[in-house]
Amino acid sequence: MGEGLIAKDKWWEWIEDKKDRIFLTERAKKRYGEWFPPEVKMVKNGKEVLLPPGEEMYRYLWTGEEWKVEEREFSYEPSFLFLLPCEARAIIEVTDKVFLHPPVDKNYWLRRKSLSLGILACLQPEPTCFCSLVGGGPFWRDEEALFLVPRKEDIYIEGRGEPFSFSEEGGEKIKQEIQTLQKEVEKGLPSPLPSYFPQELYHHFEDEEWNALSWRCINCGACTFLCPTCYCFDLSIEGRLKGFQLRSWDSCMFPKFTLHASFHNPRPTGKERVRQRVMHKFSYFPEREGNFACVGCGVCVEKCPVNWDIREALERMVEKIDRLRT
């Protein structure tokens, strides 16, 4: 695990060389666009690279005598994805845990193992950000990924890999500066949810609060499709005599998500579906995997057509839980 400083010109040399194999997320580009060549591919978030909205799982063919099933061979060039800490956390702490948990999802695995992550520190949280509420932070990092803090004339870097071959020693002074910067940025952000939240939220499954909370939601899929951690998908068959199994994004907000063939639907109205979304992200997933399935990026809050704000839902539930605990 190294750390150091990369001079601007060295950075540009390195990045220019790789520019056709670099992805940059939209939000990272907004803040650090000047550190990357314009040819770099912009993506909305990590999901676009690792879990595209539609992909082929395997194909089948009627030869005239029998059915044949086969998979296409995919291979991916090693590439880099530069993104903000929340977006990186969405990959490392959520989608990796789901798709790399045995049985390993081959499509995801092939893409993931050829993708290196470069986490760019977040120096300007937006008013809709709440990463610290859910266990993340603007300087969150992971040992498997590069961590970068672009400064005026150089970039502070931590992690492993190529860039360290041409970085200079940073030294204690730089480390202190970075730590001070981190504290500065973290100041305005909310404090984490209490550790008892996932368990206690579960006990509030039948709470009437869900009626009030879910009334406004129009049950579209905007929040789920834009969320960097939402991963639910559908499998369908495309093609009669020749075709493939298609994996496409699905949303727990859609009414048909849990519709049985007998027309029984365990989640018939918006209330059950809104509740499911919150419970899955803040109770079920943490119980299984140890962290929330929400990274606090705030995109859903920004984009919801009716201003359904997950922070408010959490606040109300925390209030209720605390009231009953005392």
């Binding site: 539609g54 009334w215 129009i218 920004e302």
Partner: protein, 311 residues
């Protein structure tokens, strides 16, 4: 602007038990945003607001109450009321169950346009009037900041109401009609524009779900048997969905623009149903939602219906 009156009237209706629920707007959790609210107790009417950011079409929130017997008061702008008229014509509600609090509307302001022209904006720097606002010491007319559908609005006054709060107004003399602008472009350019816009669509169905008139039990987009489109937002499937939806709204769209304002990708999705309505207007001299006695051209048969295409 008329908030106090609105709150007073809503409170009156609830206290007198003339209605069970009031559906209106309240301030959002983000600046320059308002959100729908359901008020069932008189004290909560203090939360109602009415400003230039009251974007969603509230008639959409009547839809879950079709099966109930509750009486609902609805705060409705000109276009929202037109949607209610259509819902009444389509027999989704008996007239007595909806109490329309009509609000003549000067238009919804686009936060995006404010940011583009004024840079970083804070709510406290603004002071709002009906047709203008003060910001950074300067007075601005709202015209150039309106959402595209509001800039071309022909019916700011509710055509039907039980209470009218606010002053009736004349439609804006606007120089900018974004539908005209795009219609006047050459075919190639238009095709470029629409394919580019629709490639960005993620098929979240926010547009459809925000529309008060999209209330099919099973939308054709989600039909499995027969399966019209896949779950993947490819350009061809997106085109199919949006064109299909626009056609299903033919003669019914009230041109409120709620679909466009709901879109998280900010796609100019309103242009398609608006164009269809223009065609309906030109061929049948009909605009939807203006009167309870109207007869929708695609739902009524008249002997003198255009028939040149029948050879």
């Amino acid at each position: 602007m008329f908030e106090r009156e609105i709150r007073r009237r809503a409170k009156e209706l609830l206290e007198a038990k003339a209605v069970d629920l009031v559906i209106g707007y309240t301030s959002g959790s983000l600046p320059f945003q308002a959100r729908p609210i359901l008020v069932s107790s008189p004290e909560d009417t203090e939360q109602l607001v009415w400003n230039h950011f009251c974007s969603p079409n509230l008639a959409r929130y009547l839809l879950p109450y079709r099966e109930s017997s509750k009486k609902i008061a609805l705060l409705a702008k000109g276009c929202d009321t037109r949607a209610v008229v259509i819902l009444l014509r389509e027999e989704q509600f008996p007239r007595e169950r909806i109490h329309i609090i009509g609000l003549p509307c000067s238009g919804i302001i686009s936060k995006r346009k404010l940011e583009e022209k004024l840079g970083e904006i804070k709510e406290e720097d603004f002071s709002w009037e009906e047709n203008s606002f003060l910001c950074q010491g300067k007075k601005w007319e709202i015209d150039s900041f309106l959402e595209d559908t509001c800039a071309r609005c022909r019916y700011p006054n509710p055509p039907l109401w039980d209470d009218l709060i606010g002053e009736k107004r004349e439609p804006r003399e606007s120089s900018v009609d974004y539908l005209e602008k795009i219609s006047s472009q050459a075919e190639e350019e238009r095709w470029q524009f629409f394919t580019q816009e629709l490639s960005r669509c993620i098929r979240c169905y926010a547009c459809r779900n925000a529309c008060p008139l999209c209330y099919c039990k099973e939308c054709f987009a989600e039909s499995d048997v027969p399966r019209w489109i896949s779950g993947v937002p490819t350009l061809s499937d997106n085109l199919f969905f949006h064109l299909g939806r626009s056609m299903h709204l033919a003669g019914r769209c009230v041109e409120c623009g709620a679909c466009e304002r709901a879109c998280p990708e900010e796609i100019k999705i309103g242009l398609l149903p608006l164009k269809v309505e223009e065609i309906i207007k030109n061929n049948f001299s009909f605009e939807a939602g203006l009167s309870l006695e109207e007869e929708a051209p695609l739902l009524t048969y008249k002997e003198n219906d255009p028939g040149e295409f029948i050879k």
